[in-house]
Amino acid sequence: MTNTGGYEERDVVVRLTDVRKDFGDHAALDGVSLTIGAGEAVAVMGPSGSGKSTLLNMVSGLDRPTGGSVVVGGEDLARLGEKGLALFRRRRIGMVFQFFNLLDDLPALDNVALSGQLVGMKARAARERALELMDELGIADRRDIHPASLSGGERQRVATARALMNRPALLLADEPTGALDSRSGDQVMQLLTDLNRLGQTLLIVTHDPRLAARCARRVIEVADGRIARDGSVDGATGTVGAGVAGATGVAR
């Protein structure tokens, strides 16, 4: 039940064709094909060890498939070297992790600005853009605070702002609410929903059916390295948060 057709080529953000990933004798992914169109919000679900994290690594270019092809934002990742993959991640995707992965040495603002500086923005311009984003995400007043002194929800917002710095074609979220209490989790879910409403393409990997139901309009279930189910969900509802507006500048 893979979903491969029905997209205009220019609208395709992710296209996996018969992707396979072996770890020794074990096939973590076994012939996965899927297409994600611009503006979609897709949740990948499945039990531990089902292959969903491996799938995310393929899409983000953090790992290479054993077979098949991965095209993201028009780039065939198989053709890119290590440096090419790094540049691809810089410009095309943003990533949000369960454990935030912020630099403890830097204040919130500089953590966000970092992505901009890597693509060559001047420090001042990067900080300005970072502050705008943080303002949109409701954490502008935390700009000078170090990650260790932020709440979990705030940290995840900082991480999200960082992921959005370079207007990525695709936002990848790996268990974004997994380390958060339910209130913070709600805030983050709301944020992701709002971003998608503004047109940001989302790929969320999660265990949490609540997160999938709330943020995604399409759910892919992975089991034993294969796509077990791929379909839309009902009731993905929510309202556009007051904080998220034009500054996120989501790319279509």
């Binding site: 953090l62 290590e82 790094a86 454990f99 403890d104 500086q117 890597l118 693509v119 420090a123 990650p147």
Partner: protein, 776 residues
């Protein structure tokens, strides 16, 4: 204990590389410690043992036989503090005696013959190596050190005095204190017109010059004031021998101490890193029921095991190197036969190092290990990989806003987040740069010393005369003719003639070697440490060795035997090296030489003259000449430079390994950060740049601190080495630095750091990140 052992073994396995680094560092330091201690022990140990075994004389005194009787001398010697005496014996000095027979052993120009009835006296017990003791007139036993090898008594071997008295060689004996060149019966000695009476003393307290002076004063109390004409101290002989090891001891000590400090720093860094990285591990151990003492023990065992292995290997290597060095140190030094077979690294050095190094390592690990002990289990488990924050934040902020590429500014911020580790790493680099600087300085000074000694800057060609007896044909021209011939050769700027004679210094039993020079000595004389070159009659310059042995000052007068009899000579200058005394009084001293003429000429060439071609031309003027270009470099220079280079290489390696270890710890601790940076698009090259920058900056600071420290150490070591070897060194030996060289040395810190950082940086850049991003 087995649980501790198992946990420590697991800890070692997890840190194979750091364990290896630790082992290597301890090995290198132990080897240096053993070699240094071995040399230090060789300075006095072997000599004292050999000298005491032979009941060597502490003081050998010479009395004027016309002013005091033998009975008076013997009576006065019955004084407190005098433990044994031998003598007085009549002593005669033979100027340039000759030998008959096919196997001459070579005799000094001033040959002392002592009349003694037996060899086995309580002081200066002689070892008769061959033959028998003289029993009647016309017989002599020669002083022959055992190092010459076994000598046979030959019937045709005779010593002929300048007066024509023939003395048949009936035996060979050796004297630890070198009390005479030969021994005859007392009656025979009296027939040789003895100038003095020789008396030898051993004292209860013979540890210092002042003790020996006091002892001598006590043993000569009540004798006429001018009866004592001279004394010789065994400490001079000992000091002369110590010159060998003393060439190496100062810089080996400094290198050894640096090595130890670097080891301590690296051990501290490794263990504190292991504790920080192993917080969770510590928590687990405690949760499993390890007591705080057991946790401390795990960390101590973890470093002590490689330290024990390292010190064992180092001790063996150090023993071998030390033994070689000790032998090398005494090589070619006058009187070395006393010690050369006994000189080795003493046994006590090995246990000291074998126990001391691991203890030192454990002590350096203790602070960090105690931290692990104090850590509450719950905190340790939950701390996980969380990093402390709040350090160097203002700096981080400034760097974030700077114009530097972001990977560089991020790297620059690293040192500020772990000040303790930064301080340890910085110290390691400082010591590395200090070593490089010091080593280059020492090498430059040693080369400069060779130039000063051989005068390669002002004498380009040396012309030597064949000795017709050994190497015919002899020269066909007289000295004056040869001087004129050389002057007339194209390319000659200045020429001087030289010869060396041995004569007697009033009040001294030893022969004095006098360099006799003439010609353009004003232009060709060696650099003076103090005073000036000879300008008038009866003026001399002396070598610094002689200066210190005799405790001289400028303006002092010494009396030398010349062909005209004793002549007072005023000291006007001191040279670093060279003959004991240098005189320009050719006509009075040259007749004392066996060949009674010049032995060679020194030539300075005019600018642009080819020394090779000149040497060939000079040799062509007379079949009795051979000429060579003066570009000699001494064995000692080569040995010192190679030893210094080896030690430097070792310390640079150790210091580089220290940096390597720090970077390894940093990148391990930050692997999640590195993973994240890669996930947001940092290229492998940028990651490498960031990691290398994080220590290269530190290295640059280390270089700026280390280079001046190295220069300072050089300034201390060179004169110290000079004093240890009894040489006063000219200032030019300290002026070896040029500003560009110093700037390069200051940069070397960044280079050491970058070299040490490159591999771990590259492996961090290549490491897969997907997993680490997902775990806490």
């Amino acid at each position: 204990m087995s649980a501790v052992w198992r946990a420590a073994r697991a800890a070692v396995r997890r840190r194979r590389f750091q364990t290896f680094v630790l082992g290597v560092v301890v090995m290198v330091s132990s080897a240096m410690a053993v070699a240094t201690l071995g040399l230090l022990a060789a300075v006095s140990g072997p000599f004292d043992r050999a000298y005491d075994a032979a009941n060597g004389a502490h003081v050998t005194a010479e009395f004027d036989g016309s002013k005091v009787t033998a009975a008076q001398i013997a009576r006065a010697a019955d004084a407190p503090g005098v433990t044994a005496v031998a003598g007085p014996y009549p002593a005669a000095v033979l100027h340039s005696p000759s030998e008959t027979g096919d196997h001459p052993i070579g005799m000094s120009g001033a040959f002392t013959v002592v009349g003694r009835d037996r060899p086995d006296t309580p002081v200066d017990t002689l070892e008769l190596g061959a033959g028998h003791w003289p029993t009647g007139p016309g017989e002599i036993v020669l002083n022959a050190p055992p190092s010459i090898g076994r000598l046979e008594i030959r019937s045709e071997h005779e010593v002929v005095t300048p007066d024509g008295v023939r003395l048949k060689v009936v035996g060979y004996a050796s004297s630890a204190g070198r009390s005479a060149g030969g021994w005859v019966t007392p009656d025979q000695a009296r027939a040789l017109h003895p100038a003095s009476l020789q008396m030898m003393y051993r004292f209860a307290d013979a540890g210092s010059d002042s003790a020996l002076k006091a002892g001598t004063a006590a043993a000569t109390r009540g004798l006429p004031p001018d009866a004592l004409t001279g004394t010789g101290s065994y400490l001079a002989l000992k000091a002369n021998l110590a010159k060998g090891p003393n060439t190496y001891v100062p810089f080996l000590t400094v290198f050894g101490v640096l090595g130890l400090i670097v080891s301590v720093l690296i051990v501290g860094n490794v263990v504190s890193g292991a504790v920080v990285a192993g917080f969770r591990h510590i928590g687990v151990l405690k949760a499993l029921g390890f007591t705080p003492n057991q946790v401390t023990a795990v960390y101590l065992v973890m470093v002590t095991v490689p330290a024990v292995i390292g010190s064992a290997l180092g001790s063996v290597i150090g023993g071998l190197v030390g033994k070689k060095l000790v032998h090398q140190a005494f090589f070619g030094i006058f009187g070395n036969e006393l010690v050369i077979d006994r000189a080795t690294v003493p046994t006590w050095v090995h246990p000291v190092v074998l126990i001391g190094m691991p203890v030192l390592v454990a002590l350096s690990a203790l602070v960090a290990a105690l931290r692990a002990r104090r850590l509450p289990a719950a905190v340790a488990i939950s701390a996980g990989g969380a990093q402390r924050t709040g350090r160097g934040l203002a700096v981080q902020r400034k760097l974030g806003g700077s114009r530097l590429p972001r990977p560089v500014s991020l790297g620059l911020g690293w040192p500020f987040t772990r000040p303790g580790r930064t301080a340890l790493t910085l110290s390691t680099v400082v010591l590395g740069v200090m070593t490089v600087t010091m080593a280059l300085g020492i090498s430059a000074s040693v080369i400069e010393f060779g130039q000063v000694r051989n005068q390669t800057d002002r004498i380009q060609v040396r012309v030597d005369l064949n000795d017709p007896e050994w190497n015919p044909p002899g020269p066909a021209h007289s000295d004056d003719q040869l001087l004129a011939l050389l002057r007339s050769l194209p390319g000659t700027a200045h020429v001087s003639a030289r010869s060396v004679v041995e004569t007697r210094l009033a009040g001294s039993p030893d022969a004095v070697r006098v360099g006799v020079e003439s010609g353009d000595t004003a232009e060709l004389h060696p650099d003076l440490v103090r005073g000036r070159w000879i300008e008038g009659p009866d003026e001399v310059v002396v070598s610094s060795g002689f200066w210190h042995r005799r405790g001289l000052s400028l303006g002092d007068t010494i009396t030398l035997d010349s062909s005209d009899g004793p002549r007072p000579q005023r000291i006007v200058g001191e040279t670093t090296d060279g003959w004991d005394v240098t005189t320009l009084d050719w006509n009075r001293f040259i007749p004392l030489s066996p060949v009674r003429r010049a032995q060679g000429f020194s030539v300075q060439l005019t600018e642009g003259t080819d020394p090779q071609a000149y040497a060939a031309a000079a040799a062509g003027t007379d079949p009795g000449l051979h000429a060579s270009v003066n570009d000699a470099s001494d064995t000692i220079e080569k040995v010192v430079i190679s030893v210094v280079s080896t030690l430097t290489l070792m310390l640079i390696t150790v210091s580089g390994l220290g940096v390597f270890n720090t970077v390894l710890l940093n990148t391990r601790e930050r692997r999640r950060n590195l993973g994240m940076l890669k996930s947001i698009g940092m290229t492998p090259r940028q990651v490498t740049a960031m990691v290398v920058t994080s220590v290269a900056a530190l290295g640059a600071v280390g270089g700026i601190i280390g280079a001046p420290l190295g220069m300072l150490a050089h300034r201390i070591i060179v004169p110290m080495t000079g004093r240890g070897t009894g040489l006063d060194l000219p200032d030019s030996l300290l002026r070896v630095w040029s500003w560009p060289a110093v700037a390069l040395l200051a940069l070397s810190g960044a280079v050491i750091a970058a070299l040490g950082a490159y591999l771990p940086a590259r492996s961090a850049a290549r490491a897969p990140v997907a997993e680490v991003l997902r775990t806490e």
